[in-house]
Structure formats: C-alpha cells, structure tokens
C-alpha cells in the first residue's frame, strides 16, 4: 500500500535506528577525543562494536550492572569526558531512575543516555523489555533533554549533535528496520521542531518511528482532500512550543503520535502547551495504559493502534470536534 501512495517523503532503504546510533557514535568518537562509551553487556545490540574496536581505551564494558554504569558515567564527566551509555531503553531508565536522578540530572552531569529497543517495535521479546514509560520518566527530570529521532539518518545526526551540547541527554531509538526517509548528513538542531509537510486542516505532531506513519497518514488524508501539516518533534524536551502554537494557530486542531504511553508522553507535553496557551481539539495516538506483548513490530503497532491508519482515524475524530 505504501509503495503506491504519493507520500511527500520516500525511501529506498530500511535500516534500524540503533545502527544510526552506532554509526553516529563512531563518527563523533573520531571527531571528539573526549567522547567515551560504556555498555552493559549489549555491545552488539547497541551497535557500539565499531567504536569499541577503534577506541578500546575509551570504551568500558561494565557487565550487566546498569546502576553502576550510570554512576561511572557521571564520574567520567568530572574529568571532562563525554560518556555515552548504551543499553536497552528499559534498563536505561526505569531500572536506574534514582541513579540518573541524583548522580546525573540533579548533578547536571554531561552524560548521554543512549537507549535502544524502546517501545513496542522491540517485538518478540515482549512487555518485559518493551518500555513505554521511559519518555515520561525522563521528561519529568529537571535538566534532562529528551530526544527521539525518527529514522537512521536522523538518529545518526542526533548522536553526533548531542556531544556539542553540555548537559544530560536521553536519546531514544529502536530495533526494527525502518524506512530511511530523511536526508543523510542532515543538521540536527536540539529543541527545534521540523515542519516536514505544510498543511492547513490539522497539525500532526509525531516523534520516533511514528513520524513515518504520520508521513503515510498525510498522503492518505490528502487523497480525501484533507491537508495535514506534519511536524517532526524529535526533541520532546525542551519542547518547541513556538512551532506547536504557530501550527495550531493555523490549523485549529492537532493529533499527536508516539510509540509510548499516552500518560506522560510527548502528547501530554503538547496537550499541556495547548491548554495553557491556545486551547484546541487534540487527539492522541499512543498506548493507552497497557503493557505490550510479544509479536512482530508491524502487528503490534496495528493491534495497539499506533500506525498510519490510526493516525488517519484520529485526524477524522479531531476534525469533527473543530
């Protein structure tokens, strides 16, 4: 279906966003000698092997001990290093929340928490590993920046860009092979939303893997004469409230789409921005207060209502409320 659709962005290749991280990590390691890596027994899964091979002295395998990894990373910053920690999103957040809170966020440490296998699209491993609360936990922390790029190229660009930003960052990415629809070697601006498609009827704010679903949804809606604006909210915190308010001032309604719980996710941030500044009808696409389960990524997105078809439905609901 996607192939015959006239999407405004197209792709010729699919790749996992974690590979974008791994390639970006190697590149930023070559550019910046202060960048160091830590991993809790998931070097292959996080694609950190190339960096480890090229810079063995700047890489620390810490074993299956994530709490210690966060503390060691915080300590490394004191000597001016820029540590990138690597493990699954679940073990990057919930398992080590207090370590991040005290030793990294409260202490303002320049640690880059790099979290793979986030969300339902982790797939067959099931709900123990499919964290859907991580963005909520991280965006609640003062001083924390939260980034969820959409494809291989954007993840690579974000991985490189965060080294130049002084402060703690949560970088979220995933496992499935996903369309590469944004440009190679793009400039990544933390905190700056990217309006990918202009439209006047509805604003779709999407983050992570669901940006592609939003691009598909826009094409489906266009076939029905609905002009949707698609905004890539790769940075969830700090939120680009100006871009959100500018768009909704024009369209008068919005849909958010994310691979995360509705409670505490990006949609909550957008809702807060709208309610406080420019109340407008809003529909939210995300996981509604449930855990995930084992299955193929695309089947899970369908079952939990997180794909382009569900974004289209949400747009129709919100347009009816305008």
């Amino acid at each position: 279906m996607e192939k015959t659709l006239d999407t405004k962005f197209t792709y010729t290749e699919k790749k996992d966003t974690r590979s974008g991280f791994g390639d970006g990590f190697l590149e930023v390691g070559r550019k910046n000698p202060d960048v160091v890596g830590l991993c809790a027994d998931l070097i292959g899964s996080l694609k950190m092997g190339a960096f480890q091979k090229e810079f063995p002295d700047r890489f620390f395998q810490v074993g299956i001990a994530e709490a210690n990894m966060m503390g060691v990373a915080a300590g490394l910053t004191i000597g001016g290093k820029i540590p990138y920690t690597g493990t699954f999103a679940n073990f990057s957040t919930g398992r080590v929340y207090d370590q991040i809170r005290q030793s990294i966020a409260y202490s303002g440490k320049n640690v880059k928490i790099c979290a793979s296998h986030a969300g339902l699209t982790l797939g067959e491993d099931g709900a123990t590993h499919q964290i859907l609360e991580d963005v909520g936990m991280m965006r609640m922390l003062p001083h924390m920046t939260v980034i969820n790029p959409c494809d291989y190229n954007q993840t690579k660009a974000a991985t490189i860009a965060i080294a130049d930003y002084e402060g703690p960052v949560y970088l979220r990415f995933g496992r499935p092979k996903w369309p590469i629809f944004t440009p190679a070697n793009q400039k990544f601006e933390i905190g700056k939303a990217w309006k990918m498609i202009d439209g006047k009827d509805v604003s779709i704010f999407a983050t992570g893997h669901l940006v592609w679903e939003a691009v598909v949804a826009e094409a489906l809606l266009r076939e029905e004469g609905i002009q949707a604006e698609v905004i890539n909210l790769h940075t969830i915190k700090p939120l680009d409230t100006e871009a959100i308010l500018d768009s909704v001032a024009k369209t008068g309604c919005a849909v958010t789409a994310e691979e995360h719980q509705l409670n505490g996710g990006m949609g909550d941030s957008v809702a807060q921005t709208l309610v406080r500044n420019h109340p407008a009808p809003l529909e939210m696409v995300g996981v509604n207060d449930s855990f995930g389960e084992s299955g193929k990524p695309e089947d899970l997105l369908e079952k939990y209502g997180l794909n382009a078809a569900n974004i289209v439905k949400a747009v129709k609901r919100v347009l009816a409320r305008k």
């Binding site: 001990a65 210690n68 990894m69 060691v72 000597g79 409260y106 440490k109």
Partner: protein
C-alpha cells in the same frame, strides 16, 4: 605549604566537632553521629593527605578528588571545606535552611564550592569515584581519587556492582574507605542486615584491603592513608576499613545509633561544647 602537626590536626578536629553540633543544633535537623565519628578521617584528608585547591575547579585536573557516598554526614564535610577555605565559615550557619548552598545532603545545584556531585540516596558514590578515577587515567592525571561509604550502605546492591567493576578495569588510583561504626538508623548493622566479614568480601572482589583499627586516632588514620597510597599503581584499588565510634567526642552521643539523625537541644549543645575546645573560632 607545610603540613600541620598532629597537635594542630587535633585542634582542627575539635573545632570541626563544634561546628557539627552547632550546625545540627542551629536547624534542629541533620546527622551528627557519623559526622563526629568521621571527623579525623576528613581532617586527615583535607589538611594532610590530599592535594586540593580551595579555589574550586569542579573538574579537579591535577588534584586529588574526594567523593562522599553516604551524603547524610554532610555536616563534617561542610565544616572541613569551610575550614579549608572553600567558603566562609559563617555560611555554616545556613546549613539546611532555605536559600542555602549547604543542602541537607551535598549537592551541586546551588554551586557550593568543593562538591562535585550530589549524594544522599545511598550506594552511588563508589561508582562515581570509579568514573572519576578512569577519567584521570585517560587524562594522564596521576593524582588519587578518594571515596567514603557507610557500613550500613554496604547493604545497597550498587556497591557490589562497583566493587566488581573497579578491579576489572584496573582502577588502581582509588582509595575507598568504609566508615565501620556498626550502626545504622534502625539499630546495629549486625541486627539490621549482618554484613559479616567485609574484609573477606572486598578481598574476594579483588581489592587490596587494609584496616584502620581506630579511625578516631588521627595518627592511625594518616598511617592508613599513607599505607594505602603506597599500594596504588599495581592494577588494584584499595579499600580501607575505617573503624570509628559514632558520635565520638561527645560522651552522650558515642556508640549509639540513636544520634544517627537527631539534633541536640540547648542543654545537650552546652554539654557537648563543654567537651570540645574552641580552637579556630566559632562561626
């Protein structure tokens, strides 16, 4: 700068103890017990052992670094930092009060000179010290990293993750001490969660373990820290079991968990100060 004599160090200890009980009394809150017990250790570190700069540089390149994992004994650290010149001693009067840089537990948020990371939620400081020690190695900085933990804190799982990590990565520029006072909030450690043989445990994790039999004897503390320094550089970290008396220096506070986290009243303060000579001038 010439190192102070043992007599001078003892005088500093007396003043630090006065600061501790006055700070905790002043706000009727805080943790005097282990602060008093660790006074000789802090004075030995800051006035005798460490190369450090009171013109505070958070990165501490070329300096020895200290990390306090059991952050609740902040009164002793704040007093020693002030008496070392990191900030005016008068500021000790603001301890735990609103708008103060001297938070209940050490923090960087308010920019208090001398503090490099927040602590208080237990179990995290050794990991941080390992990271700082690894950074020193990457920077070809040959100075030493020191850390202090509590004995009750040994019940935290992260301590043992860190214990496993440091020898594996050859962190041999690190001297960690445990304040073994045998007490924690709810009672004696052997009743709450028995630590059994800490020496055997740390040795089994690959550390070189030394013991300071009387951590309230400043000469013994210095002897241990010198000995520990001599054991660095051979691929293994050093652990110092620092046996102290909680509440040392104030007779009615000694050796009981009851003074872990409560403040003396006016009468108790007067009694405590009567036992501690004012040597550097009260703040």
């Amino acid at each position: 700068m010439e190192k102070p004599s043992i007599k001078q160090l003892k005088e500093i200890c007396s003043q630090v103890r006065r600061d501790i009980v006055r700070m905790v009394h002043g706000v009727q809150s805080g943790h005097p017990g282990a602060s008093l017990g660790c006074t000789e250790f802090f004075v030995a570190l800051y006035f005798h052992q460490m190369k450090h700069n009171k013109d505070f540089d958070p990165k501490g390149l070329g300096e020895d670094l200290f990390f306090l994992s059991n952050g609740h004994i902040s009164p002793v650290w704040y007093s020693v930092l002030a008496r070392s010149g990191y900030f005016p001693a008068e500021e000790l009067a603001t301890f735990r009060k609103i708008d103060s840089r001297l938070q209940g537990h050490p923090a960087t948020e308010e920019g208090l000179p001398g503090i490099r990371i927040a602590s208080g939620s237990l179990g995290q400081g050794l990991s941080v010290a390992i990271g700082a020690a690894l950074a020193k190695k990457l920077n070809n900085d040959t100075r030493t990293v020191y850390a202090l933990m509590g004995d009750g804190e040994q019940q935290e799982g992260q301590i043992w993750e860190a214990a496993m990590c440091a020898p594996h990565h050859g962190v041999d520029n690190l001297i960690a001490s445990i304040d073994v006072n045998g007490q924690q909030i709810d009672g004696p450690t052997d009743k709450i969660m028995n630590l059994l043989d800490l020496k055997a445990k740390w040795e089994a994790f690959g550390w070189q373990v030394i013991e300071t039999e009387n951590g309230n004897d400043i000469e013994q503390v210095i002897f241990s820290l010198e000995k520990a320094k001599g054991m660095l550089g051979n691929g293994k970290p050093v652990l110092n079991l620092l046996r102290t008396d909680m509440g040392y220096g104030v007779d009615f506070m000694v050796g009981t968990h009851k003074w872990h986290g409560i403040a003396p009243d006016d009468e108790q303060l007067a009694s405590a100060l009567g036992q501690l000579e004012e040597t550097l001038g009260d703040y």
